[in-house]
């Protein structure tokens, strides 16, 4: 079973802070990581490969430095990696991003595509389902478990109030939750192989030109655009009681709760 995992390199948003003076993002020193939902997708793909054989290919779109994320995935045990990197792909929204990734996928041999449910920088959860639509294959999103039984893929699909255990034929696309599989660590040998034995292929527009309409790529091919971005106005702080005893604190809270008719 050949599996392609879609991977995004993202800034670790839990490390992002706001500059209180300028109210802008401090990007400096923020580490780049493999998006957590994608990393669990890689892990899940590797486990499926261990069970039923086949090849795991990583596919990413991003600037040249996204290669680092792909090398990390190779070190975990993936077989191949492709980085889609070209000026023509830049400034893409989810629609154009999914068109670009789908164009590359049309050139690859896959039974299952796994994409992380959502990236922590954009939080859209849109690219996976949009790829599936461009490829006209079924999708199962929010996967908590993936198994293979007699050539069929069986997925435990999470909703807020229930699970569906679903059966889907290949080829199909699955979006993975970070709960799906705890990613393994890179081994020393794995890391060595990722740099010496394995290759990250870089594809530009030339490599996918025949499987996509150029009008659907990058900023030009994006139906949406960002009109403005801003940091939220913090709500003004109220009263702060420092240096009070527990009893005084309780009294202050109870007084407020009475004022608000909560008690």
């Amino acid at each position: 079973m050949n599996i392609v995992v879609c991977v995004k390199q993202v800034p670790d948003t839990t490390e992002v802070k706001l500059d209180p003076k300028t109210n802008t993002l401090i990007r400096k020193g923020v580490p780049s990581i493999i998006n957590p939902d994608d990393k669990s997708g890689i892990e899940s793909a590797l486990r499926l490969k261990e069970k039923v054989g086949g090849e795991v290919t990583l596919l990413s779109m991003g600037p040249p430095q996204a290669e680092v994320a792909l090398r990390e995935g190779l070190a975990m045990g993936a077989d191949k990696a492709i980085l889609l990197s070209d000026r023509a792909f830049g400034g893409a929204d989810t629609w154009a991003t999914s068109s670009t990734l789908a164009a590359a996928l049309k050139k690859l041999d896959y039974d299952v595509i796994i994409a992380g449910r959502q990236a922590i920088d954009g939080d859209t959860a849109q690219v996976g389902p949009q790829i599936a639509e461009h490829l006209e294959i079924p999708q199962v999103s929010y996967a908590e478990e993936i198994n293979v039984e007699e050539g069929k893929v069986v997925v435990k699909r999470q909703f807020e109030d229930r699970y569906h255990i679903v059966e889907v034929n290949t080829p199909c696309l699955i979006t993975s939750l970070s709960e799906l599989a705890e990613p393994r660590y890179m081994s020393v040998k794995g890391t060595f192989d990722a740099y010496r034995e394995k290759d990250v292929k870089v594809w530009g527009l030339d490599e996918i030109e025949d499987t996509v309409d150029k009008m659907n790529l990058g900023l030009k091919g994006s139906p949406t655009r960002v009109k403005k971005s801003f940091t939220k106005q913090a709500k003004g702080a109220g009263e702060l009681l420092d240096d009070v005893t527990a009893e005084e604190a309780v009294e202050a809270i109870v007084t407020k709760l009475r004022e608000k008719h909560i008690i």
């Binding site: 849109q126 807020e160 255990i165 702080a237 109870v254 608000k260 909560i262």
Partner: protein, 332 residues
């Protein structure tokens, strides 16, 4: 020409979900600025009788499609129905709930229609000059807000975060057109097979519905720390909630998590105990009506959004507060 504001009403087991009424509430405002109508799309099996609920909450019209294939949510039959209804009616705007259904369906539909989609919006308004929909959403883990537009493709589509938009007062006297939109489904539309539906049996509390939340962070120290909060929330008639750290530790289930990757809550009272107030947490609770926080660290960011902040030890204050509230309640 494209016109009208459509919302995809979400049903589970034949019950219309609250987020659908929130969408109608917001759609009503947008439609007023555009001088257009609000139309709800309702998909399900034997669902017709629920259509009037959508009218009572403010929809001007309902378009419904019934089929056995639409009983449980499955991507392809829902995509086909939504796509065909949109194609036939050419709406200006379509809104979906940013639930695990809406966030599966909307991107698939947007790709089929070749139009833009903005995810998980917390603000929507019409620009009165351009008449474009301004879709505002948090990005970068809630650190920044971005306003997105879709100029040249129709419909303009967004998924909307549950719990953020206001529901209109239900009025039984409201009336509106309810029309069936018949669709022929065939076997290949059901391209996945549901083997089993497992209800999440544990009594899951929906913290977005609670009026009072007593929430705990890392300062609780351990799993047992929630017992103290439970007693306080019982005394107040509320529910407990949590920051992400405790969920990651496995002290409490994810259903209780407030924040960017958890739920957005707007209770009348939010008591934050032992929560420092990472921006991701604040994103999920800062719209609460009244916020009280207790934290040992006087520099904790949670105090910046609090109406009343107490620098102190929650393990000392929470039990005493619980006792005092019970006393007050017994007096009255």
């Amino acid at each position: 020409m494209s016109k009208d504001v459509y919302v995809l009403a979400e049903q589970r087991d034949g019950e219309i979900q609250k987020v659908s009424f929130e969408l109608i509430g917001k759609a009503k405002e947008l439609a007023k600025d555009l001088n257009q109508k609000v139309v709800a799309i309702l998909l399900g099996s034997n669902i017709k009788e629920k259509a009037h609920d959508l009218i009572e909450y403010g929809a001007d019209e309902v378009i419904y499609t019934e089929d056995e294939m639409l009983k449980e949510y499955v991507t392809e039959p829902y995509t086909k129905a939504t796509y065909e209804i949109i194609k036939a009616n050419d709406p200006e705007i379509v809104l979906f709930g940013a639930s695990s259904i809406g966030r599966d369906l909307a991107p698939r539909v947007s790709a089929r229609l070749h139009t833009g989609l903005t995810a998980d919006c917390t603000g929507l308004e019409i620009d009165l000059d351009t008449k474009l929909l301004m879709m505002t959403r948090p990005a970068f883990g809630g650190n920044i807000m971005a306003t997105i537009i879709c100029e040249n493709h129709r419909p303009q589509m967004a998924t909307v975060r549950p719990g953020v938009m206001d529901v209109l007062e239900k009025e039984e006297s409201r009336s509106g057109k309810i029309n069936e939109f018949p669709i022929e489904f065939n076997e290949k539309d059901m391209n996945i097979k549901i083997r089993k539906v497992l209800k999440r049996t544990k009594k899951t509390v929906d913290i977005t519905e609670a009026n009072i939340l007593v929430s705990g962070g890392r300062g609780l120290g351990d799993k047992k720390g929630f017992n103290k909060l439970m007693k306080l929330s019982e005394a107040l008639g509320g529910e407990i909630a949590s920051s992400r750290a405790n969920v990651d530790e496995g002290w409490i289930e994810k259903d209780y998590q407030v924040g960017q990757t958890g739920k957005t809550v707007r209770p009348d009272l939010y008591i934050a105990t032992g929560i420092s107030g990472a921006i991701q947490h604040l994103a999920g609770m800062e719209e609460s009506e009244f916020i009280i926080s207790i934290n040992k660290d006087s520099g904790a960011p949670i105090f910046e959004v609090s109406d009343l902040g107490i620098v102190g030890d929650l393990h000392d204050i929470v039990p005493k507060l619980t006792e005092e509230i019970e006393k007050v309640k017994n007096e009255s």
